[in-house]
Structure formats: structure tokens, C-alpha cells
Amino acid sequence: MHIDVKSMLLKDRLFLIGASLVSLLCLICLVGPHAVPFDPTDMSFQPFARPSWGHPLGVNDAGQDILSELVHAVRNSLAFGASVGLLGLILGVVLGLAAGWFGGITNRVIMSSADVFMATPAVMILILVAALFMPSPTVLALVLVGLSWPTTAKAVRAQSLALRGEQHVRASAHMGGSAFYVISRHLIPEMFPLYVVGFVAKARMAIFMEASLAFLGLFDPGRKSLGGMIYYALRYYYMDVWWNWLAPAVVCLCSAMMAAGFLAISLEKIMDPRLRSKWA
């Protein structure tokens, strides 16, 4: 029941737009910090200087070059999103596999805690932790990872229960394959679509959360972020900085969210097992 995912993806316009936006943003992250001439924390320029050749987007209220600020903010946002997405995915897959494969009490404990985590408003815990401890972005990312695994765990568990009953998996186990062998050789590769969709959805959520928390002032103010830039630019709106300070940050945030959203929608459409079974 194999379908040619690659050719279907390349024909999907949404996927193409999303993928090119992601590539563009990745390019900014990789090349940008080396290409911009200034350190984003360098405060030695004239505050509120208008855009010029030296500072294509001008200078902010603290005397920092806005273009350098923007490039570093994009990089921080994407790095935050990608790492939360990846770690949350791994945690979800491991717990989902454990619940699906071992069943019994393991399953009960993991699935009940997934329910509890999904019912709890994650942002609120995040805000409380951030306000009390003022932790580093790494710690906040880890808290977000701890709150983002249940959706993947549930999907992986359901799929692995279905796969467990399939002939080839049973054959493999009956021929003496260990749990580790069967899981790594059969279950993990066959659930590939779930990982991609799960990763993109989590990364999108994390980028959104990072921007919001930074906007609310819960991150270290020295760390450059799109949410923080939007907050400060909005405060100096009356200085007529909307087009060189506010708009670039807003556009970058929207592109990141949109790119992830487009990819998620298009991948889900093409790889969702329910939809796929209808086509196969």
C-alpha cells in the first residue's frame, strides 16, 4: 500500500510555499548572523537613527542596529521552535511506544498522565515558572517539551496497537525478535508520517509561545526575540518606526508561523493514515 509521498508533496502548492519559506528562514538563520555587520547587543549607535546605508533598518531605542537584532531574533525563534519540536517528539514517541507495546499498568499510567497534561493549561504553568524563577530559555524550552508530548504519545500508541496486530510484526516477534528489535525494526520506521506532522505542529506551537512569552517580558531582556522586538517597537509607535522596526519583526513572525502551518496542513493531508487508507 505504498504511495509515492514525494511526488505528491512536490505537486502540492501549499507544501512548496511552506518549504520555500522554511528554506528562506533557515538561510537567514545560518548566513544572517555572519552577514550582518554589527553585534545585536552593541549599543553604541545613535538611538532612533533613521535607516541608512550603515543601518538598513535603522537603530532602535537602545542604540542597537535593528537588522542585526532581527536576524538574531529569527534565529533564536527558529532554534527554540525546532528544539522543542524535536525533543517533544522524541519524548512523545518513546512514551507512546512504551504504552502501546507494554500495555497493562505502563499504558494506564502513561495515558492517564497524558490526559492530565492535555487538560492542564500549559501556558499558565509556563508563565508561573517563568515569572518565579526567571529561567534560561533552555529551561523554558524543556518545560514546554514536558507539556507538549501527549498528542504525539496518543497517536503513536494508537498506531502501534494497530501495527502490533499485523502479520509481519507478529511473525517477527514469534521468530524470537526482542521487543527492542521489533520496535526499532518494524514499529518506528512504519510510523514515519506521524513524526513529521508532530514535529511541525510542536515547532509551530513553540514559536508562537516563545514570541508571546517574550512579548510579555518573561524572557531575559538581553536575548533577542521577535516577540520582544514587537513589544518595544509598539511602545515607540509614535516615533514613526512601524515600517522599519515593527513591520519586519511582524513579517518574520508571520512567515515562520505560516511556513510551519502550511507544512503541517499539507503533510497531514498527504500522510494521515486515515486519509491514506482511503486512497491506497
Binding site: 493549561p121 508563565i127 508561573l128 524563577f133 508571546s212 510579555l216 514587537i230 509598539l234 511582524v250
Partner: protein, 326 residues
């Protein structure tokens, strides 16, 4: 088959899950501040420009800090005695209940409108699948779905309040205005228009796409064919047979999206300086007003839990199969 009434196993399961979630939150809200290095008073004044004398510091500590056991803490929570705000020096609970109506008006109203519109338009779009209007609408909404509340709010505020001056830039009503009842309502609506539009525009695409996709799936089912073959009127097939079933995934996904929505409300209220819970939380964070932060966090978590629980129970009601699960 008789109607199910009373407590089914599923309902008990849901109640247990939500009870546990609430318990976890209460324990966290008790434990986290106590795990903090130093205490509220040091945290508050260490990061401000104020330096206290020894005497002032111990006074502040006596005033704000109560060393108490978990049982006392629980009792205090139940009695709505949530401590005092540092920055505003008012009881936290009264600050929350002052802000609550505004948030309910703004976020609740936006949700109601966006959900109803999203569902009905989504259902109608799926019914006209592959028409030009439907394709344009799906494309536009997929695009809009990528715009976070923060960006939308900034654009709307900039355009309609700062540039065009059609709407006020901040607040929920004109302060000190002597207005008749009608005038006051109009003034409130005038202030509400921009933040509410922002929230509706950011909720609508998600609701629309979900409803449309789920309706498309349902329309492919065989019972729709049967209903049509029986010669039922179009409208009856569309709403009684199809849309009712399309509603289920929409309700389930709503709970998952709540976390996003809560964050969105906080940001939108802040950008429009709307005097709801979000702005209260924002100001508390900016002034490191820890008791107030804790109070708002705990209160809104409880509210979100309650909404989620209500949704679960509603789900069991609109989908008879869910009552038999387990």
C-alpha cells in the same frame, strides 16, 4: 436502548482526570513559590531600584509572607483569600473579579461569534466543495491561520486606531465620561470593536477549516447517501445528518487549541490595553507582582479546566457513542 443518565464510567473517568489536573495545579502553585531561591520580598525588591532598610524589609516580609501548611493554603484558596498584590496593594481576588467581566465579554463574545460563524460557513463551504468561492475561502483561511494574534493585533491597532483614528487605541470605556446608558453601551462597543475583531479574525480560520474538513469527511459516508436516497430535503441532510456528525471533531479539537487561545487573549488584551485578566497578568509580570501573577495563573487555569470538562461532558451528549466508550 434506554437513554443514558447519571454517571457512566466515562464520565467518572473525565471527572477523575480533571480533578487530578486541578490537584496538580494547586500543588504546583503551592510548591513552586516555595522552591524559589529567596522569597517574594527579596525577588520583588532585588530587581527594582528601591533599596529597603533592614526594618522595612522585615515589615514587608511580615505583611506579605505567610508561612503556612498545605491545609491552610487550601482553605485560603477556597475562601477566595488569595493574598494581596504588591504593586496595587489590593486583595488579589477583588482585582481578578474586577477584570473578569471584561475578559468574558471580549474573549467569550469573540469565541461565540467565531465558533458559530466558522461552523456554519465551514459546513456550507463543504457542501459547495470545489466551487470557486469554496476554493478561495479555503486558501484565504489557510493563509489567515498562519497569522498569530500578536501580528493581527498590531496591524489592526496601527491601521484603524493610530493611522485612521476611527477607534480608540486603549481601554474599555472613555474614562470620566458622563454618558446615558445608551451612550455608555455605544462607547463600550466602540472600544470593544478592535480587540474583538482581532480575536474573531484569529479564531475564525481555525474553526472554519476544521468544520469544513470534518464535513467533507462526513459527506463521503454512506449514511449520507442513504439519507439522500430516502428523498430527504437538502437542508435536512446537510444539518441533521451531516453537520451534526461533523461537529464532533470540532468540539474535540477546541480543547486542544485552548492553550493557544488563552495566550492569544493575554497578548491581544495587552496590545489594546483592554482592562481584562490578560492585561492584569501582563502588568503583574512587568512589575514582578508575584502574588497577583500566581492568583491570575491559578484562576485562569481553573477556568480553562472547567471549560475543558464542560466540553468533555458536552461531547458525550452530542455523540452517543462516546458515552459507551471504555
Amino acid at each position: 436502548m434506554g437513554k443514558h443518565s447519571g454517571l457512566t464510567r466515562a464520565k467518572v473517568g473525565h471527572l477523575f482526570t480533571f480533578g487530578l489536573a486541578a490537584w496538580v495545579l494547586i500543588c504546583l502553585s503551592y510548591a513552586l513559590p516555595r522552591l524559589m531561591p529567596g522569597d517574594f520580598v527579596t525577588a520583588m525588591f532585588a530587581s527594582s531600584h528601591v533599596s529597603l532598610t533592614q526594618e522595612q524589609e522585615s515589615q514587608a516580609r511580615d505583611y506579605f509572607k505567610r508561612e503556612e501548611g498545605f491545609a491552610t493554603y487550601l482553605l485560603r484558596l477556597l475562601r477566595l483569600d488569595w493574598g494581596r498584590s504588591y504593586a496595587l496593594s489590593q486583595p488579589v481576588s477583588s482585582l481578578i473579579f474586577q477584570a473578569l467581566p471584561w475578559t468574558m465579554l471580549l474573549a467569550g463574545g469573540a469565541h461565540l461569534i467565531a465558533s458559530l460563524l466558522g461552523f456554519v460557513i465551514g459546513v456550507e463551504a463543504a457542501w459547495r466543495r470545489n466551487s470557486r468561492t469554496e476554493k478561495t475561502l479555503v486558501g484565504a483561511m489557510t493563509f489567515m491561520e498562519g497569522v498569530p494574534e500578536m501580528a493581527l493585533a498590531v496591524v489592526i491597532l496601527g491601521l484603524f486606531a493610530f493611522q485612521l483614528h476611527w477607534f480608540p487605541t486603549a481601554g474599555a470605556q472613555t474614562p470620566y465620561a458622563q454618558l446615558s446608558l445608551g451612550g455608555r453601551l455605544a462607547d463600550m462597543a466602540h472600544h470593544l470593536a478592535l480587540p474583538m475583531t482581532t480575536l474573531i479574525l484569529s479564531y475564525f480560520p481555525g474553526n472554519f477549516l476544521l468544520a469544513r474538513n470534518s464535513m467533507v469527511m462526513v459527506l463521503g459516508e454512506e449514511f449520507i447517501l442513504t439519507a439522500r436516497a430516502k428523498g430527504l430535503p437538502e437542508r435536512r441532510v446537510r444539518y441533521h445528518h451531516a453537520a451534526r456528525n461533523a461537529l464532533l471533531p470540532v468540539v474535540t479539537r477546541f480543547g486542544l487549541r485552548l492553550a493557544f487561545m488563552v495566550t492569544g487573549v493575554v497578548v491581544v488584551e495587552t496590545i489594546f490595553s483592554y482592562p481584562g485578566l490578560g492585561t492584569l497578568l501582563f502588568n503583574a509580570i512587568r512589575s514582578r507582582d508575584l502574588p497577583l501573577i500566581q492568583g491570575v495563573v491559578l484562576f485562569s487555569s481553573a477556568a480553562v479546566l472547567a471549560v475543558n470538562l464542560a466540553l468533555e461532558l458536552l461531547y458525550a451528549r452530542i455523540d452517543p457513542r462516546a458515552g459507551h466508550a471504555y
